[in-house]
Symmetry: C2
Subunit: 455 residues, 2 copies
């Protein structure tokens, strides 16, 4: 099932100017999106495109998008004037002629699912909305046709917080079809909010693919001077076209400069900053590779090689799994709530080495006896759960809670959704959850190769 969600912004309260300022704007017949000049009582002038009011801006400020692309707030005291310079047009977007493509280059398909990398400012609300098609991106960033013959298509146009397991399956089926048709690489543009969840999902479905499957997003939209959209997309296409591995990876900006890109394993990556361009981090694992200026530096040995014949396609996710972040003094009734809703598996993001309040033990014991899988990860983010150290942890083990080693909580949830479609008995679920399937955990008997914050 393909779900295409087009978000609309119709609430008038969002545009938001009220009172005196609204009157000034009405008098001059100015609307959001128009180019205006503001003249203050002291003679100073500001020109720009009128933006909608920011939710938290003071009542006598208006927002202008100035030439540089930045939005500024201008204080309009009594006696200020606003002059309309030009009627608001939909932001002029002249698509350059499509570049001539070279069919002898590796064939890469860009699948667009939405997000900042494919978004522009919505001049109705001042907010960013998914708008650009992948073909627009090809026209805007012709460099990508230097390294690959590009096909592009829009699969969804959604914010990634609206992503669902059905959509993961739709993306995976699309990629599987492309692989069967002999594509040389796949790039998936994605909103960054939940890109790491999707990366994990695709890693379990598309095992040992013969070509790179590269998820990529942007933290800054393409109309901002600091946008990382072009750099990230060029790198992703280049990796898709030429990387020597067949792996599901997430590739994004790294560090303080503008040109370094890091390639994370799809099951080992988490968004760790709300706004920084280098927001994605490999957790409990080194990145697989770095990319700069056309060059790929492999960090990880033993990757699945490009062209590998070990490829398997295992689609399907259950929606009967949930993630619970424990906090003191959280009550265990949440477990009963989920059990009553038919949930078959729960990931608990516990404290420290993998703990919850000892008041949870009776309820946990009961729901595990009833056949519900309960796996433990840590809200510390970094490190490995170890429930042998403290007697509370050992009690959790003794009633059947499964420690999930150094798996990221979000990845453990996605894996559980995938496992529950393949196993019905609790023992089977447990067996698959503690088996390394797509690089999502390190066996504790192996020497650990852990990089974490501060290293």
């Amino acid at each position: 099932m393909v779900l295409v969600v087009i978000l609309t912004m119709s609430e008038v309260e969002v545009a938001g100017y009220r009172g005196r300022l609204a009157e000034v704007l009405r008098r001059e017949n100015v609307e959001v999106g128009d180019e205006v000049e503001v003249i203050l009582p002291d003679g100073r002038r500001f020109a720009g495109r009128l933006m909608a009011k920011y939710e938290n801006s003071p009542p006598d400020f208006i927002s202008l998008k100035i030439r540089s692309g930045y939005n500024v707030g201008v204080h309009l005291p009594e006696g200020s004037r606003v002059i309309k310079l030009r009627e608001g047009t939909a932001p002029a977007f002249r698509r350059p002629p499509p570049p001539v493509q070279d069919p002898s280059l590796p064939h890469v398909t860009i699948i667009s699912t939405g997000g900042t990398i494919a978004s522009r400012i919505d001049y109705g609300t001042g907010a960013v909305k998914p708008a650009l098609s992948s073909e627009d991106l090809v026209s805007l960033i012709p460099e990508i046709t230097d390294v690959a013959h590009i096909n592009a298509e829009i699969l969804f146009s959604i914010f990634s917080e609206d992503m669902t397991p059905e959509m993961w399956d739709t993306i995976a089926a699309k990629v599987n079809g492309l692989i069967k048709n002999g594509v040389d690489g796949v790039v998936i543009t994605h909103g960054t909010d939940t890109m790491h969840y999707t990366a994990a999902a695709l890693s379990f479905v598309l095992q040992n693919p013969p070509v790179p499957v590269v998820l990529v997003g942007a933290q800054r939209s393409s109309d901002r001077p600091s946008s990382d959209a072009a750099t990230n997309l060029i790198a992703a296409v280049s990796i898709g076209a030429r990387a020597p591995f067949g792996e599901v990876v997430l590739s994004m900006h790294e560090g303080h400069g503008d040109d370094l890109i890091v390639v994370h394993r799809g099951t080992r990556v988490k968004k760790m900053h709300t706004s920084s361009r280098d927001a994605f981090r490999s957790v409990n694992s080194a990145p697989l590779a770095y990319y700069r200026g056309g060059e790929l530096i492999l960090v990880e040995r033993g990757l699945n090689p490009r062209g590998s014949d070990r490829y398997s396609f295992y689609p399907g996710f259950s929606d009967e799994a949930v993630l619970i972040k424990f906090f003191p003094p959280m009550k265990p009734d949440i477990l009963e709530h989920y059990a009553s809703k038919g949930v078959r598996g729960i990931i608990i993001e516990g404290t420290g080495l993998g703990h919850v309040s000892s008041s949870w033990i009776p309820t946990l014991r009961r729901i595990i006896r009833d056949g519900i899988f309960v796996g433990m990860t840590s809200q510390c983010v970094y490190g490995r759960v170890n429930m042998n150290v403290y007697s509370n942890g050992r009690r959790l083990l003794s009633i059947g809670v499964t420690p999930l080693d150094d798996m990221i909580s979000e990845v453990a949830l996605v894996k559980l959704m995938w496992v529950l479609r393949r196993a019905s008995e609790l023992d089977e679920v447990k067996g698959l959850m503690i088996r390394r399937i797509a690089g999502e955990m390190n066996d504790r008997s192996l020497p650990t190769r852990v990089s974490w914050i501060g290293d």
Copy 2:
């Protein structure tokens, strides 16, 4: 109300050896805790104290605590022998004579609440249990009496995942009493799992205290060679005795060496690693200070000075607040579940800049209209929520979801528990939640001083 919880481990299944190995041990009349020698068929010998079976160790391995203090697993093939060298005794703990204390030094009280810093291996289960009293610590670490005249008492002996808001209040009342009696500093030993939650709680209750209130723990128990218990406690006492500020802080090991200590603001710190000694990190804020070898280096200016007369005591927490970590495709019925349980405030740990699935909007709108506070933080951990950027975020703002800037999720939860005891109307709750009370958030109009992973 003082709650003293003594955890007991009586389940025989925890000791855990079964089958052939259990028979060998029974035959030799060996019990957990005994000193034994193991002789393998090939003649190799290992000596140590018999530990209980690790939950996940293979069935023919036994665990020995060897002389160095480490636990090793030894494979016992058929034909191996186990000889009892010495009957197990409770680990010999001879308390040294209490050091002679100098009453002219600053008076510091150590309040023990449990955790690794006050724990030893339980030889019945091989697990770590809270056992040492603060007075034991004084005897074991006489260095602390060089910088302070120490009083010590046990308030609780619990694992910190069992901490409750009532216990936060008990600790705060205890500290308030000590402050009223003229103490020069307070040190609170605490399990590390939820020490940051307690640090936040005390920060809201004990505002601008005239003396340092220092939370401290250990990541490695004091019978391990790599234990950080002594170093951390010595530093905490020294900071309590002599630091020039009156603040609630959390002070722990830092970096790769053995002697650097970092002092975090109580509302700006999070446990970020399950087992590393430098597990605690200041988030969205620089640490307040560093400490090494008796020297304190202040990083932050403008701290509340020692002796300040601005001290206020605001005890009390509500248990009508919860924290929800969103995941795709989490259903909004969880909100209704909590509303039906009488919850008055919810912190949502959203994705990215502060988002949830757009399918949550109708339910969120309804519960907010019913007077439930909903605040937004980010599961990215680092960075600031900003719900003005994307139209999904603006819709959440328009229905009354409150963005909580750069507050840590756990701190936002604790603050909400505290606010709900002081405000009944939604507007009041909202007003207090967005007001900076104990350094828990940075006003976005101020230049931000943010250090995060990778800096």
